[in-house]
């Protein structure tokens, strides 16, 4: 062992790498597999990373990510990379990118916001700053600071 990460490869599926350390459980939740999944899921937490110091990693067999899912990952892990694996090879590498407008991705924390009322209004936050992450509700102007994983839809 020379400090290298030893994690099994997956044959087909998605590897989400360079996840902010400690955020892997939130990524599992975004993927909807926090309570289990029929396919192979490999989770590594707090492993050494040249770029991040420490990082988390999630590998999921037989899974492609929807664009909305990638946006959600970008909120909690802005440095993450998504690798699409086919027949053991990386066929595509996507650096997640946080869009300016987050529509239907994250809810507003303000209970008195119209998006949390009986009116059917899709939550809409805009990114004001990427580092540090700050988002503002398009409707009620409430400020959300930090990754706010608990607000993800």
């Amino acid at each position: 062992m020379n400090g290298e990460l030893k994690v099994s490869k997956i044959k087909n599926g998605t590897v989400i790498d360079h996840i902010t350390a400690g955020m892997a459980p939130a990524v599992l939740k975004i993927l909807g597999i926090e309570r289990g999944c029929p396919d192979t899921v490999i989770v590594a937490m707090n492993v050494k990373s040249q770029r991040l110091g420490l990082k988390d990693m999630v590998k999921v067999e037989n899974r492609a990510l929807a664009a909305e899912t990638v946006k959600k990952i970008a909120i909690i892990a802005p440095q993450a990379t998504v690798n699409i694996i086919k027949e053991m090879n990386v066929v595509e590498k996507i650096h997640v990118e946080l869009p300016r407008d987050l529509i239907g991705i994250i809810r507003c924390p303000n209970r008195n916001c119209i998006t949390n009322s009986s009116e059917r209004v899709v939550p809409y936050l805009t990114v004001e700053s990427r580092d540090p992450l700050t988002m503002r509700c398009h409707y009620c102007e409430s400020l959300v600071e930090g990754p706010a994983a608990e607000l993800l839809l």
């Binding site: 507003c108 008195n112 119209i114 009116e119 409707y139």
Partner: protein, 306 residues
């Protein structure tokens, strides 16, 4: 006489003071200063006045503003007697009303409702208060009043007094003041009603501010007083103690410099003693009167442009 402007206001929504630049604020205030009653200006135009919550000053001053420019007003105050009590959504309500009116002026208890309506309808929307969020026309009339008495909106020391935590007028005013130069803010409030961190963050690096619990009115050009509400305190004794400490009475006014002005968004309960009204500093009734020209200017700008 119509004033020239470089902004295209026609059809624009007025939702939040955050949407307005210094130049746009000044443009509205210049129009407000010059506008005069004109029964022809908005003839044939209809303003829908949708007050889902009751209001005295805002609703009546918008109605007055529309009448003075020859326009007509439809609408309601409170939802009783409307289809909203039958469960009609806000979206359907305003989609219907936009077929009848040329502009919507709305007050609604939900924060963000004004932006939602503006996104829904094609006619201009003026926010007359959305919950605890924004009330931009109040802020514009506050700025108009300050400019009227000090002839400037730069280089001012401004004290905000009372409930700085929940009071939307002081939040909006503080944000608006970031557009101007050499402003200093003194934030005077009980510790549990301090200005929220999110607002302080917006001031940081732009408007120097100090926070104090002491009613220190010395050296200020403007003192903006807000009401401290009983329901904000878990303990009635604590409320009584705090309330007394922030009353602007004749003795407190001895601290004011001669040119200082006292403002209050009204309604006042007892945070400014009635005998203060006779002092030359007391400008809160001028402030409320200024709501009419400011709203006349806004209605004119969004309905017919400049």
């Amino acid at each position: 006489m119509a004033q020239r402007t470089r902004f295209d206001w026609r059809g624009q929504d007025i939702i939040s003071i955050r949407d307005l630049s210094r130049e746009q604020i000044e443009d509205v205030l210049n129009h407000a200063q010059q506008i005069r009653p004109d029964p022809q200006m908005l003839v044939g135009k209809v303003m829908a006045s949708l007050f889902f919550e009751p209001s005295t000053r805002t609703q009546l001053s918008f109605t007055t503003a529309m009448h003075r420019l020859g326009g007509r007003v439809i609408g309601f105050s409170g939802t009783e007697g409307t289809s909203i009590v039958k469960g009609e959504s806000l979206q359907d309500t305003v989609r219907t009303i936009e077929r009848y009116a040329d502009v919507i002026v709305m007050r609604h208890p939900l924060e963000g409702s004004a932006q939602f309506v503006a996104d829904t309808v094609t006619i201009p929307v003026i926010n007359a208060g959305d919950g605890a969020n924004q009330h931009p026309t109040q802020t514009l009339m506050d700025l108009f009043t300050i400019k009227k008495f000090h002839q400037r909106l730069d280089d001012l020391k401004i004290g905000l007094v009372g409930d700085l935590k929940y009071g939307r007028t002081v939040h909006s005013l503080a944000i608006a003041l970031t557009r101007f130069r050499k402003i200093e803010l003194r934030l005077i409030s009980p510790p549990n009603l301090r200005m929220p961190p999110a607002i302080l963050k917006e001031l940081a690096g732009i408007v120097p501010y100090s926070e104090t619990a002491e009613l220190d009115l010395r050296d200020l050009d403007v003192v903006y007083v807000t009401r401290i509400q009983k329901e904000r305190f878990p303990d009635i004794e604590e409320y009584e103690k705090v309330r007394g400490a922030y009353v602007i009475n004749l003795k407190a006014c001895e601290m004011l410099k001669p040119s200082a002005i006292l403002l209050h968004p009204l309604p006042r309960v007892d945070e400014i003693a009635p005998d203060v009204d006779a002092l030359p500093h007391a400008k809160y009734f001028d402030q409320v009167q200024n709501g009419v020209p400011v709203r006349m200017a806004l209605l004119k700008l969004v309905l017919v442009g400049s």
